[in-house]
Amino acid sequence: MTPELGQLALILALLLAAAQGVLPILGAWRGNGALMAVARPAAFGQALFVALAFAILVAAFLGHDFSVQYVADNSNLALPWYYRIAAVWGAHEGSMLLWVSILDVWTLALALFGGRLPEVFRARVLGVLGLIAVGFLAFILFTSNPFLRLLPMPPDGGDLNPVLQDPGMTFHPPVIYMGYVGFSVAFAFSIAALLGGELEQAWVRWARPWTNVAWAFLSAGIVAGSWWAYAELGWGGWWFWDPVENASFMPWLVGTALIHAQAVTEKRGSLRAWTILLSIFAFSLSLLGTFLVRSGVLTSVHSFASDPRRGFYILCFLILVVGGSLLLYALRAPKVAGGKAFRPVSRESAILVGNLMLTVAAAMVLLGTLFPLIGDALALGKISVGPPYFGFLFTLLMLPVVLLLPFGPYLRWGKGETPMLKQVLLRAGLAAAACAIVACFLVNGQAKAIAGVAGAVWVGAGVLLYAFKRWREMPRGRRYPAEMAGMLLAHAGVALFLVGVLLSESLSVTRDVRMAPGEHQQIAGYDFRFDGVTETRGPNWRAEQGTVIVSRGGTIVATMHPQKRSYTREQVQTESAIDPGVTRDLYVALGEPMDKQHIEGAWALRLYYKPFIRWLWAGGLLMMLGGFVGACDRRYRQRRAATVVSAAASEPAMPPALEARA
């Protein structure tokens, strides 16, 4: 009976979402306050019923209700409770429900904390979010219902994809969806602005903290995904340019551009149309990512089961949402280039170059991801592009960004001061050159590693110099407002990321070896001794577990236990053993036994030494932190009261006084 209640809750949520989507937008158009007032209660109701459906699905998993097809497919009696909760989003149907649930988290946050937005504007924003919810709820109900019954009820279920049975993977989908779906808020803001024709900067200021938070979540999700791929897949890699990874990376690239474009539009009024376009792109790419992962148009090493009917539905939805908003953009985008003028040497120009590089990079990733499809379409046969294409072009496109980055904070709006820039160039450049020369001796002339050190020092020195300048010149308490602190943190993250990527890529040592118990291997000054393989068990798996003792100069550094796990349905999953460190990771993955009958004998093993690899995730986390900190700026809260008055009085215009202060 309960699962049917879940389905009923979804149907009611769909109806409420339709009310939330249609009535307030009509009300805003006709100036009808009663219709606009529907937005909030409808959003609350919709979120309540989606939460109910979600809770019912969780309860079905916890209570082993195998009469529900989805539960029977993705869990079994031996699965620990925490993985049974994670199993809710372990496959297609549930992850779509998670998508809508997270959309509701954002909608609720907006309904609760967006109270100071002008009513007309808020009605439109909630309306747009309601329409998106309609699309996804209908998708769930018509093509991917998680509450379908299975008769007769099996005594035990299948299994959660073992790839997902890892603590990191438990949180990865919700966090990454917080990012994906979070861009729907910036999207809804820009659509509301287009609908209202109020193309002033006001909406951008309101949208900025929301965009920052969404971007921060997406950064965290990508870091978690990359970390998981590193720890679980057993190849020692941290990024594979796989379609699913690209699906999350494209919105991130465009989101990064968006955050910067929003700053320009808010403070200077320039690039207005561009900011709107980027908001549409960021969310469209999130939807496209969902489409690519779900439709079966592209296959990937970690994609879910796919179904062409679902693909067709999402494509239609995509055409409606993206096509519709781009049409709206074509009709209503700002007619004239507004805002204050800026010189070629100015913060605006620097941000524009960065924006261009980031969007071109996103387009490049999109092209590469769709290449197999283009090959089929033009009858060129099976073609696909891999890491060499992505790696080369991405490096090329990000080079100007890295070079420009230290100048960013020093550049003034409108017109930069050249002497100041020369000073930065000299100091950061000298620091980078000095460190690169030292690195030359330490890494035996490895160009990539030297470039990594130089790039990181260049960016890092720029950030530190600016932080120091603020410290010296500004009075206490006004040195680092949250927005500035967030920017400095995120830019410092770029420096750490560069160290991690370039040093680990160039100095890693990988060795595929056959080792009999008692044998030794030397890698980068570490001695790996293989002590054989034994059998071990977990709650729902059994594993062959190796023991590798690592020592350096006679002292034992780590005892590592790589595993090869077999789950209930004979699915095999490697569990690499990692000894983490600030300057290096040691990584051991178990391959195959030389003789299947004698697992106590010799095995194929992969041994890795990965210097500084941890720094790249640290860099990603620092960027995430920057996003969250930046969103906390008091400016976003303080001024709203003043803005509301002006915006409510006359929608289109912002008092010039406010503009000037920014």
Binding site: V297, P308, G311, G323, A330, L370, L373
Partner: protein, 180 residues
């Protein structure tokens, strides 16, 4: 016009994605066409399993189309495929050459004795050297080779009645039409 550009770009993208859905409903994504298709089969000389003194080579098989089926006694999927070969496989109309891959001859013989032998001839590639020339991924795998010694069709994984009916049979029929 420039404000219409993003929309036009998206229309192209949507058309490509629509094409992708249509295309994938008719094609298996995972199929990788073998580069050996329509190329001469690699030259091999391998001993017969039942009589290692005699050998079978690409040259000795010329003149008639045949199907090479890679199998091994250690291969679990081959056990699943085997009943299909015993029934449908015997009726495809071309000789069936068993290719015993990286296997112990004694175990292979015992395996065939236990499950039945659908093959007209069985050749043994103990080291798996010739299999590298064929680009064998693993067992089971099947190659249809025509009278001129050219590989015309390849299937990775177990042959099923569906695969035989929808892919293998049409390929064999095409060979026989060419012959007439």
């Amino acid at each position: 016009m420039s404000r219409l550009a993003p929309l036009l770009g998206f229309v192209l993208l949507a058309a490509l994605l629509g094409f992708g859905i249509w295309w994938n409903s008719g094609h298996d994504q995972r199929e990788v066409p073998s580069p050996l298709i329509d190329k001469a089969a690699p030259a091999f000389v391998l001993p017969r399993l039942d009589d290692p003194a005699q050998s079978v080579s690409r040259a000795s098989l010329l003149g008639k189309p045949y199907l090479i089926n890679v199998f091994a006694s250690w291969c679990i999927a081959c056990g699943e495929e085997h009943p299909v070969l015993m029934t449908d496989g015997k009726q495809i109309g071309v000789p069936l050459i068993g290719y015993d891959y990286k296997d112990d001859p004694a175990e292979a013989k015992a395996w065939l004795a236990e499950h039945g032998n659908p093959y007209d001839t069985v050749i043994a590639d103990r080291e798996g050297r010739s299999a590298i020339d064929f680009g064998v991924y693993g067992a089971p795998e099947s190659f249809l080779i025509d009278a001129q010694g050219v590989i015309r069709y390849k299937h990775i994984g177990p042959l099923t009645p569906e695969v035989i009916a929808s892919e293998l049979k049409p390929a064999i029929d095409a060979l026989q039409r060419e012959a007439h």
